[in-house]
Amino acid sequence: MALSHLSSTRSNRLLRPLAAAASSLCRPISTSTEPLVIETSIPFTPHKCEPPSRSVETNPQELLTFFRDMATMRRMEIAADSLYKAKLIRGFCHLYDGQEAVCVGMEASINKKDCIITAYRDHCTFLGRGGTLLEIFSELMGRQGGCSKGKGGSMHFYKKESGFYGGHGIVGAQVPLGCGLAFAQKYNKDENVTFALYGDGAANQGQLFEALNISALWDLPIILVCENNHYGMGTAEWRAAKSPSYYKRGDYVPGLKVDGMDVLAVKQACKFAKEHVLKNGPIILEMDTYRYHGHSMSDPGSTYRTRDEISGVRQERDPIERVRKLVLGHDLATEKELKDIEKEIRKEVDEAIAKAKESPMPEPSELFTNVYVKGFGTESFGADRKELRATLP
């Protein structure tokens, strides 16, 4: 990985107080916003467009934020694994660890008026959109403090006020929905865009192509983001797709293939995509990424791929380790400082879980809330309609 600096960190160090320079342990973590240009791991591969430059503008503060955000997501997902095994989380639980760079890089290039929609592997995407650890753990455990008040569960997180539209359980459905969000944005003359995330499994869904065709016809500001983690549940991409070049599958719609484990590449690609769609209509981004866990907590993830493959990716391409190396290589923080951040995060996550466990289960009357906005005073019923009934507002 080639490194180049626009401004030397050495000159920064000369400006710091002598006392701090005396001992590197006393040097504060760099919160500098001095620009830093770093090259992506590999160049972008374009389809019917000119790719953006490999040189990504960033700064120390941003890199450290990337580190912190991804490490938080990583710890959160691992904690969710334990909670699921302790039976505090029920039903389905699809974990995102390994894929953190995609949602973190995306957030760095957009704002909260842009919309994101994804499928069921949504915990980290929700966190990136401004969700809190407490809301997440509470929802996973089905408590009142959850972002969906305990009624949605792992697959159904939403945060409309910051442009996060879920959280969807049916493979592929989120893509036409995302195109619909983009339609509304264009209709309202917003100058904002929508990112619709889907997996390599969903990439073959017919509804995707239907929605893409319409979006291209109507010039909608939609970015389709294929998070290609190479497995649709237990089926490898080559067994499910005649053409696993997902960035090319839009045919007449341009595309870009991105190293989804490189947060800077993701940021650059999303910035490029946002500018593109506001002028030219849809684009497809294929993020080459990887999930360490199986499809869900019911899937060991080792019957259809080797442990060597999984550990190989962890060693060679882990998104957090890449940023750690960048930070250390550019002298933006020491190893100990980064480890301290991770310790802090662990504490934050543990505290959020403890607080979430205190959140009560929903009141029984919540069974009947939010069926309709306007219920006309009709009645709804429990399993025994003569025992449990409610009037809808």
């Binding site: 969906s148 305990g150 009624k151 359980g169 929903p362 019923f381 399993a383 003569k386 025992e387």
Partner: protein, 371 residues
């Protein structure tokens, strides 16, 4: 001499189970005494295996049915035995592969399509209804569609609103379809074999939570010729005071309710519908004419549900025999919530069935106030 089958609750003769004429000869042998325990999963797997062995036109299609051994391990071992030409892993594209399967059925093959759950089958429902169910009629008998659509239906545990719906009443309202819902391992084996042999499209509604449950089955059930008749309900427990109809997992709940009611002096007759379409109206009405009271139980949404059809059938044919209004227990009229306590409120529980049966027998206190 026909072997008397030991059921979980009550003994039943083979004749009452409606054994096919072809199987009668083999049933006349004396079998070894002990019943064997078979899980529903094993029952389904063995049924698929035997039918694939007997007829080379039978093939399996669905997500993870092959190399993964089945999302719920129902198709375990079948890829190894029958090869990739007959056990086909599909991409996650229900509309596409269901259409392909129906087309294959038009041309003489006998596909068994697995939906990972019937919630996902909604992506394919046009092909189930318009391409499969109606074609024999539209073609005036030229094109038959010998296809089976199978998979888990209804609620599981904590899987939320998009993964918990029961589709029995939707499919059962459609002429041209047959709709089956097994409860026990015997049901699973007998009905799936019948479905695969049937020349018409069959929707086969399993239940994820029943897959691991074991039921004792006789040697007759384990015989490869075994099949149950489509369109015939089973009296799981005989009674004389109130009829309780149920299907799939709710049969187990109804049986538990019957035990509780028995202790309170109410003798409940539990009917395992087995077949939602055709519905065994004769059996249901005969039972109600005997007991004069009816409680229908289902997991699905109440409006336009299976219970609504059963109630109307009884009102149409046996009105004079009813001594009490028909009671209906169903899933709550809300999307399925995730939180455990709300999910419990959203699904029928044994105490709901007991309470409704007592009301039908005029043995309960007046209704509770509204929430």
């Amino acid at each position: 001499m026909f072997r008397i089958l030991t059921q979980r609750v009550l003994g039943q003769s083979l004749l009452q189970q409606g054994i096919r004429p072809g199987a009668v000869a083999s049933a006349s042998r004396c079998f070894a005494s002990a019943a064997k325990d078979l899980t529903v999963r094993e029952a389904l797997n063995s049924a698929l295996n035997e039918e694939m062995s007997a007829d080379p036109r039978v093939l399996l299609m669905g997500e993870e049915v092959g190399e993964y051994q089945g999302a719920y391990k129902i198709t375990k071992g079948l890829l190894d035995k029958y090869g990739p030409d007959r056990v086909l892993d599909t991409p996650i594209t229900e509309a596409g592969f269901t259409g392909i399967a129906v087309g294959a059925a038009y041309h003489g093959l006998r596909p068994v399509v697995e939906f990972m759950t019937f919630n996902f089958a909604m992506q394919a429902i046009d092909h189930i209804i318009n391409s499969a169910a109606k074609t024999y009629y539209m073609s005036a008998g030229q094109i038959s569609v010998p296809i089976v659509f199978r998979g888990p239906n209804g609620a599981a545990a904590g899987v939320g609103a998009q993964h918990s719906q029961c589709y029995a009443s939707w499919y059962a309202s459609c002429p041209g379809l047959k709709v089956l819902a097994p409860y026990s391992s015997e049901d699973a084996r007998g009905l799936l074999k019948a479905a695969i042999r049937d020349p018409d499209p069959v929707v086969f509604l399993e239940n994820e939570l029943l897959y691991g449950e074991a039921f004792p089955v006789s040697a007759e059930v384990l015989d490869s010729n075994f099949a149950l008749p489509i369109g015939k309900a089973k009296i799981e427990r005989e009674g004389k005071d109130v009829t309780i109809t149920a299907f799939s997992k709710m049969v187990g709940f109804a049986l538990k309710a019957a035990e509780i009611l028995d202790k309170e002096g109410i003798s409940a007759e539990v009917i395992n519908l087995r077949s939602i379409r055709p519905l065994d109206r004769a059996a249901i009405n005969a039972s109600v004419r005997k007991t004069n009271r009816l409680v229908t139980v289902e997991e699905g949404f109440p409006q336009h549900g299976v219970g609504a059809e059963i109630c109307t059938s009884v009102v149409e044919e046996s009105f004079g025999y009813l001594d009490a209004p028909v009671e209906r227990i169903a899933g709550a009229d809300v999307p399925m919530p995730y939180a455990a306590n709300l999910e419990r409120l959203a699904l029928p529980q044994v105490e709901d069935i007991v309470r409704a049966a007592k009301r039908a027998c005029y043995r309960s206190v007046p209704m509770a106030a509204a929430v």
